[in-house]
Amino acid sequence: MKPASFDFVAARDMAEALAALREGGDAARVIAGGQSLVPMLNMRLATPATLVDISRIEELRRIESANGAVTIGAAVRQAELAAWPDLAVTLPLIHAALPWVGHMQTRSRGTVCGSVAHADPSAELPLCLLVLGGTVILRRHRRTREVPAEEFFLGMMSTDVAPGEMIAALSLPQARPGEGHAFAEVARRHGDFAIVSCAAKAGADGAVTLGVGGVADTPRLLELAADAAADPATRDDQLNEFAWSLGARDDLHATARYRRELVRRLGRKTIEEALSCRA
Protein backbone atom coordinates (compact mmCIF):
# COMPACT_ATOMS: atom_id res chain seq x y z
CA MET A 1 0.00 0.00 0.00
CA LYS A 2 1.18 3.52 -0.73
CA PRO A 3 0.74 6.90 0.95
CA ALA A 4 -1.76 9.44 -0.40
CA SER A 5 -0.28 12.72 -1.65
CA PHE A 6 1.06 15.41 0.66
CA ASP A 7 3.28 18.46 0.50
CA PHE A 8 6.63 17.94 2.18
CA VAL A 9 8.52 20.58 4.13
CA ALA A 10 12.14 19.73 4.84
CA ALA A 11 12.52 22.18 7.72
CA ARG A 12 16.03 23.58 8.14
CA ASP A 13 15.35 25.26 11.46
CA MET A 14 12.65 25.65 14.10
CA ALA A 15 11.26 28.83 12.54
CA GLU A 16 10.52 26.98 9.30
CA ALA A 17 9.03 23.98 11.08
CA LEU A 18 6.78 26.08 13.33
CA ALA A 19 5.64 28.29 10.44
CA ALA A 20 4.70 25.24 8.37
CA LEU A 21 2.84 23.67 11.30
CA ARG A 22 0.96 26.90 11.98
CA GLU A 23 0.01 27.28 8.35
CA GLY A 24 -1.00 23.63 8.03
CA GLY A 25 -3.03 23.51 11.26
CA ASP A 26 -4.96 20.29 11.70
CA ALA A 27 -3.91 18.95 8.32
CA ALA A 28 -0.17 19.21 8.98
CA ARG A 29 1.85 16.57 10.72
CA VAL A 30 5.40 16.23 11.98
CA ILE A 31 7.54 13.44 10.58
CA ALA A 32 10.62 12.55 12.62
CA GLY A 33 11.89 8.99 12.12
CA GLY A 34 8.80 7.83 10.24
CA GLN A 35 8.89 4.42 11.94
CA SER A 36 5.28 4.69 13.12
CA LEU A 37 3.97 7.40 10.81
CA VAL A 38 5.00 5.89 7.48
CA PRO A 39 3.23 2.58 8.17
CA MET A 40 0.12 4.67 8.93
CA LEU A 41 0.62 6.61 5.69
CA ASN A 42 1.15 3.38 3.76
CA MET A 43 -2.13 1.99 5.10
CA ARG A 44 -3.78 5.40 4.64
CA LEU A 45 -4.74 5.49 8.29
CA ALA A 46 -3.17 8.95 8.17
CA THR A 47 -3.66 11.31 5.22
CA PRO A 48 -2.02 14.61 6.17
CA ALA A 49 -1.99 17.46 3.65
CA THR A 50 1.49 18.52 4.75
CA LEU A 51 4.35 16.65 6.35
CA VAL A 52 6.93 18.69 8.21
CA ASP A 53 10.24 16.84 8.42
CA ILE A 54 12.10 17.92 11.56
CA SER A 55 14.83 15.29 11.42
CA ARG A 56 17.49 17.62 10.02
CA ILE A 57 17.02 20.54 12.37
CA GLU A 58 20.43 20.91 13.97
CA GLU A 59 19.21 22.40 17.27
CA LEU A 60 16.92 19.37 17.79
CA ARG A 61 19.72 16.86 17.41
CA ARG A 62 21.23 17.53 20.84
CA ILE A 63 21.42 15.60 24.08
CA GLU A 64 22.35 17.90 26.95
CA SER A 65 22.67 17.40 30.66
CA ALA A 66 22.49 20.34 33.03
CA ASN A 67 21.02 21.07 36.48
CA GLY A 68 20.23 17.44 37.21
CA ALA A 69 18.21 16.86 34.03
CA VAL A 70 18.89 15.46 30.56
CA THR A 71 17.26 17.21 27.62
CA ILE A 72 16.72 15.10 24.50
CA GLY A 73 15.91 17.03 21.32
CA ALA A 74 13.15 15.91 18.95
CA ALA A 75 15.54 14.81 16.21
CA VAL A 76 17.64 12.54 18.46
CA ARG A 77 17.28 8.99 17.24
CA GLN A 78 16.83 6.05 19.57
CA ALA A 79 20.15 4.55 18.41
CA GLU A 80 21.94 7.85 19.05
CA LEU A 81 20.64 7.99 22.61
CA ALA A 82 21.62 4.34 23.11
CA ALA A 83 25.17 5.21 22.00
CA TRP A 84 25.42 8.27 24.26
CA PRO A 85 28.30 7.44 26.63
CA ASP A 86 26.62 8.99 29.73
CA LEU A 87 23.37 7.06 29.32
CA ALA A 88 24.00 4.15 31.72
CA VAL A 89 24.95 6.49 34.56
CA THR A 90 22.55 9.40 34.06
CA LEU A 91 19.48 7.52 32.76
CA PRO A 92 19.86 3.87 33.80
CA LEU A 93 16.15 3.15 33.21
CA ILE A 94 16.28 4.36 29.60
CA HIS A 95 19.53 2.44 29.17
CA ALA A 96 17.73 -0.74 30.25
CA ALA A 97 14.60 -0.09 28.17
CA LEU A 98 16.05 1.05 24.83
CA PRO A 99 17.12 -2.38 23.57
CA TRP A 100 13.42 -3.37 23.82
CA VAL A 101 12.25 -0.55 21.53
CA GLY A 102 11.76 -2.23 18.17
CA HIS A 103 14.81 -3.52 16.33
CA MET A 104 18.16 -1.92 15.58
CA GLN A 105 16.85 -1.40 12.04
CA THR A 106 14.05 0.82 13.43
CA ARG A 107 16.03 2.42 16.27
CA SER A 108 18.41 3.70 13.60
CA ARG A 109 15.76 6.17 12.43
CA GLY A 110 13.03 6.24 15.08
CA THR A 111 13.34 9.16 17.49
CA VAL A 112 12.88 9.22 21.25
CA CYS A 113 10.40 12.11 21.10
CA GLY A 114 8.52 10.51 18.17
CA SER A 115 7.78 7.48 20.32
CA VAL A 116 6.42 9.75 23.06
CA ALA A 117 4.35 11.71 20.51
CA HIS A 118 2.95 8.50 19.03
CA ALA A 119 1.91 7.30 22.53
CA ASP A 120 1.37 3.64 21.76
CA PRO A 121 0.13 2.07 25.04
CA SER A 122 2.76 -0.67 24.72
CA ALA A 123 5.69 1.60 23.92
CA GLU A 124 8.62 1.56 26.32
CA LEU A 125 9.76 5.20 26.17
CA PRO A 126 6.45 6.82 27.22
CA LEU A 127 6.40 4.39 30.16
CA CYS A 128 9.92 5.38 31.23
CA LEU A 129 9.12 9.08 30.82
CA LEU A 130 6.19 8.65 33.19
CA VAL A 131 8.09 6.61 35.80
CA LEU A 132 10.95 9.11 35.83
CA GLY A 133 8.54 12.04 36.18
CA GLY A 134 9.90 13.74 33.06
CA THR A 135 8.56 16.75 31.20
CA VAL A 136 7.52 17.24 27.58
CA ILE A 137 8.62 20.57 26.10
CA LEU A 138 6.12 21.71 23.46
CA ARG A 139 6.57 24.54 21.00
CA ARG A 140 4.31 26.38 18.65
CA HIS A 141 4.60 29.75 16.94
CA ARG A 142 5.82 32.19 19.65
CA ARG A 143 4.94 29.93 22.54
CA THR A 144 6.66 27.25 24.60
CA ARG A 145 5.01 25.20 27.33
CA GLU A 146 6.12 22.35 29.52
CA VAL A 147 3.78 19.50 30.33
CA PRO A 148 4.55 16.93 33.04
CA ALA A 149 4.39 13.34 31.80
CA GLU A 150 1.35 12.55 34.05
CA GLU A 151 -0.69 15.14 32.16
CA PHE A 152 0.66 14.43 28.69
CA PHE A 153 -0.83 11.03 27.81
CA LEU A 154 -4.59 11.37 27.36
CA GLY A 155 -5.48 7.96 25.94
CA MET A 156 -4.50 5.39 23.38
CA MET A 157 -2.28 7.25 20.87
CA SER A 158 -3.67 10.50 22.12
CA THR A 159 -1.63 13.24 23.79
CA ASP A 160 -1.77 16.87 24.80
CA VAL A 161 0.00 18.03 21.59
CA ALA A 162 -2.30 20.62 19.95
CA PRO A 163 -2.60 21.33 16.21
CA GLY A 164 0.24 23.57 15.10
CA GLU A 165 2.35 22.38 18.02
CA MET A 166 5.30 20.01 18.22
CA ILE A 167 7.47 18.36 20.83
CA ALA A 168 10.79 20.18 20.86
CA ALA A 169 12.42 18.02 23.52
CA LEU A 170 11.96 15.83 26.56
CA SER A 171 13.49 16.65 29.90
CA LEU A 172 14.32 13.69 32.12
CA PRO A 173 15.63 13.91 35.70
CA GLN A 174 19.05 12.31 36.10
CA ALA A 175 19.44 9.36 38.43
CA ARG A 176 20.43 10.54 41.87
CA PRO A 177 22.77 8.73 44.25
CA GLY A 178 20.98 5.97 46.14
CA GLU A 179 18.30 5.39 43.50
CA GLY A 180 17.75 2.08 41.72
CA HIS A 181 16.06 1.33 38.40
CA ALA A 182 14.80 -1.80 36.66
CA PHE A 183 12.95 -2.67 33.45
CA ALA A 184 11.34 -5.93 32.30
CA GLU A 185 9.03 -6.89 29.49
CA VAL A 186 7.27 -9.86 27.96
CA ALA A 187 6.77 -9.80 24.19
CA ARG A 188 6.09 -12.52 21.64
CA ARG A 189 9.51 -11.96 20.15
CA HIS A 190 12.29 -9.61 21.20
CA GLY A 191 11.64 -6.28 19.48
CA ASP A 192 7.91 -6.73 19.15
CA PHE A 193 5.57 -4.51 21.11
CA ALA A 194 5.20 -5.56 24.74
CA ILE A 195 2.31 -7.65 26.02
CA VAL A 196 3.20 -6.21 29.41
CA SER A 197 6.18 -4.03 30.33
CA CYS A 198 7.23 -2.83 33.77
CA ALA A 199 9.61 -0.07 34.79
CA ALA A 200 10.50 0.70 38.39
CA LYS A 201 12.35 3.44 40.20
CA ALA A 202 13.35 3.00 43.83
CA GLY A 203 14.24 6.09 45.81
CA ALA A 204 17.11 6.22 48.27
CA ASP A 205 14.47 6.01 51.07
CA GLY A 206 13.10 2.71 49.67
CA ALA A 207 9.86 4.10 48.22
CA VAL A 208 9.12 2.70 44.75
CA THR A 209 7.37 4.03 41.65
CA LEU A 210 6.24 1.20 39.39
CA GLY A 211 4.95 1.85 35.88
CA VAL A 212 3.09 -0.66 33.71
CA GLY A 213 2.66 -0.47 29.94
CA GLY A 214 0.68 -2.59 27.51
CA VAL A 215 -2.43 -3.10 29.63
CA ALA A 216 -4.39 0.16 29.98
CA ASP A 217 -4.77 2.82 27.26
CA THR A 218 -1.79 4.71 28.64
CA PRO A 219 1.11 3.67 30.86
CA ARG A 220 0.00 3.73 34.52
CA LEU A 221 1.75 4.21 37.86
CA LEU A 222 1.66 2.52 41.26
CA GLU A 223 3.35 4.37 44.12
CA LEU A 224 4.60 2.20 46.98
CA ALA A 225 5.71 3.73 50.26
CA ALA A 226 9.00 2.40 51.63
CA ASP A 227 7.41 0.11 54.25
CA ALA A 228 4.91 -1.28 51.71
CA ALA A 229 7.65 -1.95 49.15
CA ALA A 230 9.78 -3.70 51.76
CA ASP A 231 7.01 -5.99 53.04
CA PRO A 232 6.28 -8.82 50.56
CA ALA A 233 2.67 -9.34 51.71
CA THR A 234 1.71 -5.65 51.49
CA ARG A 235 3.56 -5.27 48.20
CA ASP A 236 1.79 -8.25 46.64
CA ASP A 237 -1.61 -7.02 47.86
CA GLN A 238 -1.06 -3.61 46.33
CA LEU A 239 0.24 -5.15 43.12
CA ASN A 240 -2.82 -7.36 42.86
CA GLU A 241 -5.19 -4.46 43.38
CA PHE A 242 -3.22 -2.43 40.83
CA ALA A 243 -3.34 -5.31 38.30
CA TRP A 244 -7.15 -5.40 38.57
CA SER A 245 -7.45 -1.62 38.31
CA LEU A 246 -5.85 -1.51 34.84
CA GLY A 247 -8.92 -2.84 33.03
CA ALA A 248 -7.06 -5.58 31.13
CA ARG A 249 -8.96 -7.06 28.18
CA ASP A 250 -8.60 -10.21 26.13
CA ASP A 251 -7.14 -9.68 22.68
CA LEU A 252 -5.32 -11.59 19.96
CA HIS A 253 -2.05 -11.54 21.86
CA ALA A 254 -3.05 -12.43 25.42
CA THR A 255 -5.95 -12.88 27.78
CA ALA A 256 -6.80 -10.35 30.46
CA ARG A 257 -5.99 -12.94 33.10
CA TYR A 258 -2.53 -13.55 31.67
CA ARG A 259 -1.90 -9.81 31.55
CA ARG A 260 -2.87 -9.41 35.21
CA GLU A 261 -0.58 -12.26 36.16
CA LEU A 262 2.27 -10.63 34.23
CA VAL A 263 1.65 -7.34 36.05
CA ARG A 264 1.93 -9.18 39.37
CA ARG A 265 5.04 -11.15 38.47
CA LEU A 266 6.98 -8.63 36.38
CA GLY A 267 5.93 -5.96 38.86
CA ARG A 268 7.39 -7.91 41.76
CA LYS A 269 10.57 -8.64 39.81
CA THR A 270 11.22 -5.03 38.79
CA ILE A 271 10.42 -3.70 42.28
CA GLU A 272 12.89 -6.15 43.83
CA GLU A 273 15.52 -5.39 41.22
CA ALA A 274 15.16 -1.64 41.57
CA LEU A 275 15.46 -1.89 45.36
CA SER A 276 18.47 -4.17 45.24
CA CYS A 277 20.47 -2.19 42.69
CA ARG A 278 20.32 1.07 44.62
CA ALA A 279 23.80 2.56 44.36
Binding site: F6, F8, A11, R12
Partner: protein, 170 residues
Protein backbone atom coordinates in the same frame (compact mmCIF):
# COMPACT_ATOMS: atom_id res chain seq x y z
CA UNK B 1 13.84 25.09 -1.36
CA UNK B 2 12.44 23.32 1.66
CA UNK B 3 8.79 22.99 0.53
CA UNK B 4 8.07 20.28 -2.03
CA UNK B 5 4.66 20.20 -3.67
CA UNK B 6 2.55 17.06 -3.58
CA UNK B 7 1.84 17.27 -7.29
CA UNK B 8 5.33 17.89 -8.60
CA UNK B 9 8.35 15.65 -8.61
CA UNK B 10 11.42 16.81 -6.78
CA UNK B 11 15.02 16.05 -7.71
CA UNK B 12 16.60 13.86 -5.07
CA UNK B 13 20.34 13.34 -5.05
CA UNK B 14 22.16 10.67 -3.09
CA UNK B 15 25.07 8.29 -3.37
CA UNK B 16 24.07 4.74 -4.18
CA UNK B 17 26.75 2.09 -3.69
CA UNK B 18 29.39 4.74 -4.12
CA UNK B 19 27.92 6.39 -7.20
CA UNK B 20 26.23 9.79 -7.38
CA UNK B 21 22.62 9.16 -8.30
CA UNK B 22 19.68 11.42 -9.09
CA UNK B 23 16.03 10.44 -9.00
CA UNK B 24 12.77 12.30 -9.53
CA UNK B 25 10.18 11.61 -6.85
CA UNK B 26 6.89 12.92 -5.53
CA UNK B 27 6.98 13.42 -1.74
CA UNK B 28 4.66 10.44 -1.25
CA UNK B 29 7.05 7.98 -2.92
CA UNK B 30 8.85 5.45 -0.72
CA UNK B 31 12.59 4.98 -0.99
CA UNK B 32 12.03 1.26 -1.62
CA UNK B 33 9.91 2.03 -4.70
CA UNK B 34 12.21 4.71 -6.07
CA UNK B 35 15.20 2.39 -5.74
CA UNK B 36 13.37 -0.43 -7.48
CA UNK B 37 11.30 1.33 -10.13
CA UNK B 38 13.19 4.50 -10.93
CA UNK B 39 16.81 3.65 -10.22
CA UNK B 40 16.45 0.00 -11.28
CA UNK B 41 18.06 -1.40 -8.14
CA UNK B 42 15.61 -4.28 -7.75
CA UNK B 43 17.76 -6.23 -5.30
CA UNK B 44 15.98 -4.45 -2.43
CA UNK B 45 12.79 -6.41 -1.85
CA UNK B 46 9.42 -5.25 -0.59
CA UNK B 47 7.38 -7.57 1.60
CA UNK B 48 5.09 -5.80 4.01
CA UNK B 49 5.49 -1.99 3.79
CA UNK B 50 4.87 -1.92 7.55
CA UNK B 51 8.50 -2.09 8.68
CA UNK B 52 7.96 -5.59 10.04
CA UNK B 53 9.53 -8.04 7.59
CA UNK B 54 12.90 -6.40 6.95
CA UNK B 55 13.11 -7.41 3.26
CA UNK B 56 13.63 -3.76 2.23
CA UNK B 57 16.47 -3.06 4.67
CA UNK B 58 19.23 -0.91 3.17
CA UNK B 59 22.09 1.03 4.72
CA UNK B 60 21.41 4.74 5.09
CA UNK B 61 24.59 6.56 6.07
CA UNK B 62 26.07 3.26 7.18
CA UNK B 63 23.24 2.00 9.37
CA UNK B 64 20.50 -0.48 8.50
CA UNK B 65 17.08 1.08 8.02
CA UNK B 66 13.76 0.23 6.40
CA UNK B 67 13.54 1.62 2.86
CA UNK B 68 9.74 1.15 3.00
CA UNK B 69 9.50 3.51 5.99
CA UNK B 70 11.72 6.16 4.43
CA UNK B 71 10.37 8.69 1.96
CA UNK B 72 12.60 8.99 -1.08
CA UNK B 73 12.84 12.75 -0.57
CA UNK B 74 14.29 12.09 2.88
CA UNK B 75 17.27 10.39 1.23
CA UNK B 76 18.51 13.72 -0.14
CA UNK B 77 22.27 13.89 0.40
CA UNK B 78 22.44 10.45 2.04
CA UNK B 79 24.90 7.66 1.41
CA UNK B 80 22.87 4.55 0.49
CA UNK B 81 24.08 0.99 0.15
CA UNK B 82 21.99 -1.85 -1.21
CA UNK B 83 22.62 -5.52 -1.91
CA UNK B 84 23.87 -4.61 -5.39
CA UNK B 85 26.88 -3.01 -3.71
CA UNK B 86 28.05 -6.15 -1.90
CA UNK B 87 29.60 -8.19 -4.71
CA UNK B 88 32.89 -7.07 -6.22
CA UNK B 89 32.10 -4.38 -8.77
CA UNK B 90 34.99 -5.47 -10.99
CA UNK B 91 34.65 -9.24 -11.38
CA UNK B 92 31.25 -9.78 -9.74
CA UNK B 93 32.71 -12.14 -7.10
CA UNK B 94 30.36 -12.64 -4.16
CA UNK B 95 31.27 -10.97 -0.89
CA UNK B 96 32.28 -13.33 1.95
CA UNK B 97 28.82 -12.89 3.46
CA UNK B 98 27.04 -13.76 0.22
CA UNK B 99 29.35 -16.72 -0.39
CA UNK B 100 28.70 -18.06 3.12
CA UNK B 101 24.93 -17.80 2.59
CA UNK B 102 25.27 -19.89 -0.55
CA UNK B 103 27.55 -22.48 1.05
CA UNK B 104 25.42 -22.92 4.14
CA UNK B 105 22.03 -23.06 2.38
CA UNK B 106 20.98 -19.92 4.21
CA UNK B 107 18.49 -19.00 1.52
CA UNK B 108 15.78 -20.81 -0.32
CA UNK B 109 13.53 -18.37 -2.15
CA UNK B 110 15.93 -15.53 -1.33
CA UNK B 111 13.19 -13.00 -0.74
CA UNK B 112 14.40 -12.03 2.72
CA UNK B 113 18.09 -12.38 1.88
CA UNK B 114 18.95 -8.92 0.57
CA UNK B 115 17.75 -7.23 3.76
CA UNK B 116 19.45 -9.74 6.02
CA UNK B 117 22.75 -9.38 4.17
CA UNK B 118 22.66 -5.60 4.61
CA UNK B 119 21.96 -5.83 8.35
CA UNK B 120 24.73 -8.39 8.87
CA UNK B 121 27.15 -6.43 6.70
CA UNK B 122 26.63 -3.42 8.99
CA UNK B 123 26.86 -5.57 12.11
CA UNK B 124 30.27 -7.01 11.15
CA UNK B 125 31.54 -3.61 10.03
CA UNK B 126 30.68 -2.21 13.46
CA UNK B 127 31.72 -5.29 15.45
CA UNK B 128 33.95 -7.84 13.71
CA UNK B 129 33.67 -10.09 16.79
CA UNK B 130 29.86 -10.06 17.00
CA UNK B 131 28.78 -13.24 18.79
CA UNK B 132 25.81 -15.48 18.11
CA UNK B 133 23.59 -13.51 20.50
CA UNK B 134 24.35 -10.27 18.63
CA UNK B 135 23.70 -12.00 15.31
CA UNK B 136 20.34 -13.32 16.54
CA UNK B 137 19.44 -9.91 17.90
CA UNK B 138 20.15 -8.38 14.48
CA UNK B 139 18.13 -11.11 12.78
CA UNK B 140 15.15 -10.35 15.03
CA UNK B 141 14.53 -7.44 12.68
CA UNK B 142 13.98 -9.81 9.74
CA UNK B 143 11.42 -12.45 8.85
CA UNK B 144 12.40 -15.50 6.79
CA UNK B 145 9.62 -17.89 5.86
CA UNK B 146 11.85 -20.54 4.30
CA UNK B 147 14.96 -21.47 6.25
CA UNK B 148 14.13 -21.51 9.95
CA UNK B 149 17.11 -19.25 10.76
CA UNK B 150 19.54 -21.99 11.83
CA UNK B 151 21.38 -21.99 8.49
CA UNK B 152 21.31 -18.19 8.47
CA UNK B 153 23.03 -18.04 11.85
CA UNK B 154 25.53 -20.67 10.69
CA UNK B 155 26.29 -18.69 7.54
CA UNK B 156 26.65 -15.48 9.52
CA UNK B 157 29.14 -17.09 11.93
CA UNK B 158 31.12 -18.54 9.03
CA UNK B 159 31.16 -15.21 7.23
CA UNK B 160 32.31 -13.43 10.38
CA UNK B 161 35.23 -15.83 10.74
CA UNK B 162 36.11 -15.54 7.07
CA UNK B 163 36.00 -11.74 7.17
CA UNK B 164 38.35 -11.86 10.15
CA UNK B 165 40.66 -14.17 8.21
CA UNK B 166 39.70 -17.48 9.81
CA UNK B 167 38.34 -20.56 8.09
CA UNK B 168 34.99 -20.79 6.38
CA UNK B 169 33.85 -24.07 7.88
CA UNK B 170 31.43 -23.75 10.76
Amino acid sequence: MPRLSATETARVQFRLNGRDTTAEAHPRMLLSDVLRHDVGATGTHVGCEHGVCGACTVLIDGVPARACLTLAVQAEGCDLRTVEGLADAGDGALSPLQAAFREHFALQCGFCTAGILMSLDALFAADPDADEAAIRDTLSGHLCRCTGYTPIVRAALAARDRIKGGTTDA
